[in-house]
Symmetry: C2
Subunit: 340 residues, 2 copies
DNA sequence: CTGAAAGCGCTAACAA
DNA sequence: TTGTTAGCGCTTTCAG
């Protein structure tokens, strides 16, 4: 069942040495006479030979394969970044595969092991790990996707979360909300997520609003988290007077919360304003539609590919950081409130 | 930058032969004395050695890597299948990566090339290709995901479309609908889609209902198709007396039709019943929510993994086909009608 | 239980 | 332009 003919059979069949065959099948541009070339090509076709790129890679240290490692493949945010990167990378001759970690360190470790053992020429990753030294030790070019403004010495691309968060909060403020809550995760990469939180706190201070710890919700950025958020909110004593808007850490969370709230008779965009972050496709199809801040997925994916290519080309170039601004998507889940 | 220590350095450092080191790091269960084991382990740790599984694979013909090839990674339907397969496969020690083809033969070809050159121990694929012979020639265990009831001699898993369609139609019948229309596509994989249509015709015959060609709609399974469907329906003379329910080929189509109809003042779940197929996440968030038949993504992914594992274990076992029934998701787009 | 030797399939010097 | 000779890093007989 497994392929068995190697260049040695091809060489025999074509009446040349295996080096000549190698010169034909490799891209290395060794010169071959037209005559020999023809014979080799014929032999390849006759025998149905296919190159074992694994063996080739062992020798040449080139696998032509790139891994895009994402935390949640079912989240369109990540899969679209992966696809954008794929477009760019394939144009350069690389094949792209994506690894799904489900935010699990154990799964990340699996992919890192593969990388360490030379399976990929490079990786685009969003990792829960903050251990940049470990990443460098892998000996594989890596570009980080995320909002880790604090990490140094590694190529990074992402959305400027601080600006995106401000954009959302300012919009809520402008539309008249004054008791703005926030729902984010502390899960995994704490430092990273606390950006939203820190920005939130800074924003309140700036506006002279006293922070209310009761409307700062810690939930997972998932459907489950959305239901948790709804539950926590409704459990809050006299919540209607305590909170008029909630900025959610991502769209999935916001949409799930919206659903759960409706089941309890609370309508987003009416009884309370809900805002997301990401702008996943579903955000435009919910009832009400979700007001959110869009992250430029295509730009992020393309930029990640670009940086990776540059890094592969020159491992010693200085590391670069590319942050893109978010875009406000005004839809139906935020009401215009009139301040009394 | 690249890793450099190989078993030969480890061997030297531990004062043993590289064979002994190999016995330690391989799973092949060669026996090593406790004393030697200890020295080798120490050396590995000292030197920070990591095994090059690529080289190992070259010799052992095992890569411990599986590719799940899907047509659209941003569609949760596919990514959830991929994730379910991953769960099962990783438990057996394989690493799973997913390839995205965007329905493009050129991208499929890339992944097939990788497979042919021995990069993966197996694949789970949904391919636009119908060339089973080619797939076998790759020399890699493959499981197909899809509803291709017509393909033979290859492991297949998918939803039983006939049963799913019947489930939908029976539900519409039970809820009192008697003038049931259908909207499916004749594009692309014709054979497959005509399943729905054939089942529909059989169903009508069984119930003794005369078929009405005017309420059989041929549209794309897309947003565009949904708008077309709405337009065609409304253009029908006296449609309210001619059709009381429409079974749509998939959810995307149904949701788009629902939106377009509402714009024309026709409310699904009130003026007409609409039913979908798939149960995509958005189906639960529309207004009204979409009654549909869910395809069991998790089961499909798990079964695909199961079949692949079996095939890897025994390449000569007879091929198997596993079809799962759909699950009725009763929501808001179908009314209970009372028969007079 | 251990070491020596022979590859897995390919590429990369080096001569010729 | 070609063939020869070494490996890439690991596994796998086969002796001992």
């Amino acid at each position: 069942m497994k392929p068995k003919i190697s260049i040695i059979e091809v060489a025999r069949h074509a009446g040349v040495s295996k080096s000549t065959v190698s010169r034909v099948i490799a891209d290395s541009g060794g010169s071959v006479s037209p005559h020999a070339l023809e014979k080799v090509l014929a032999a390849i076709k006759d025998l149905g030979y296919t190159k074992n790129t694994l063996a080739a890679g062992l020798r040449s240290q080139k696998t032509w394969m790139i891994l895009v490692m994402v935390p949640d493949i079912t989240n369109p945010y990540w899969s679209e970044i992966a696809r954008a990167a794929q477009d760019r990378l394939e144009a350069e001759g690389f094949s792209v595969v994506v690894g799904n970690t489900d935010w699990l360190e154990s799964r990340e470790a699996r992919y890192f092991d593969l990388a360490r053992s030379g399976r990929f020429d490079g990786m685009v990753i969003n990792s829960v790990t903050n251990d940049i030294a470990m990443i460098h030790r892998m000996g594989v070019p890596v570009v980080l996707v995320g909002e880790r403004a604090e990490v140094q010495n590694i190529d990074t691309v992402g959305t400027d979360t601080i600006m995106a968060t401000r954009l959302a909060l300012e919009y809520l403020w402008t539309t008249g909300h004054r008791r703005i809550g926030i729902a984010t995760s502390e899960h995994g990469s704490e430092r990273f997520l606390s950006f939203r939180r820190r920005t939130y706190e800074g924003f309140l201070a700036e506006k002279g609003v006293a922070p209310d710890p009761g409307i700062v919700f810690s939930v997972k950025l998932s459907d489950e988290g959305g239901r948790d958020l709804a539950r926590s909110l409704l459990a809050l004593h006299d919540w209607r007077s305590r909170v008029d808007a909630i900025f959610c850490g991502n769209d999935i969370l916001a949409i799930a919360a919206m659903d759960a709230l409706r089941e309890a008779g609370v309508e987003a965009g009416k009884d309370i304003s809900l805002m997301g972050l990401d702008d996943i496709p579903a955000a435009a199809n919910t009832r009400p539609t979700l007001t959110t801040v869009r992250k430029p997925r295509a730009l992020i994916g393309a930029a990640a590919a670009e940086l990776l290519l540059a890094r592969i080309g020159d491992p010693d170039r200085p590391s670069e950081k590319r942050l893109f601004p978010g875009e406000l998507m005004v839809r139906g889940s935020v009401t215009e409130r009139h301040i009394i």
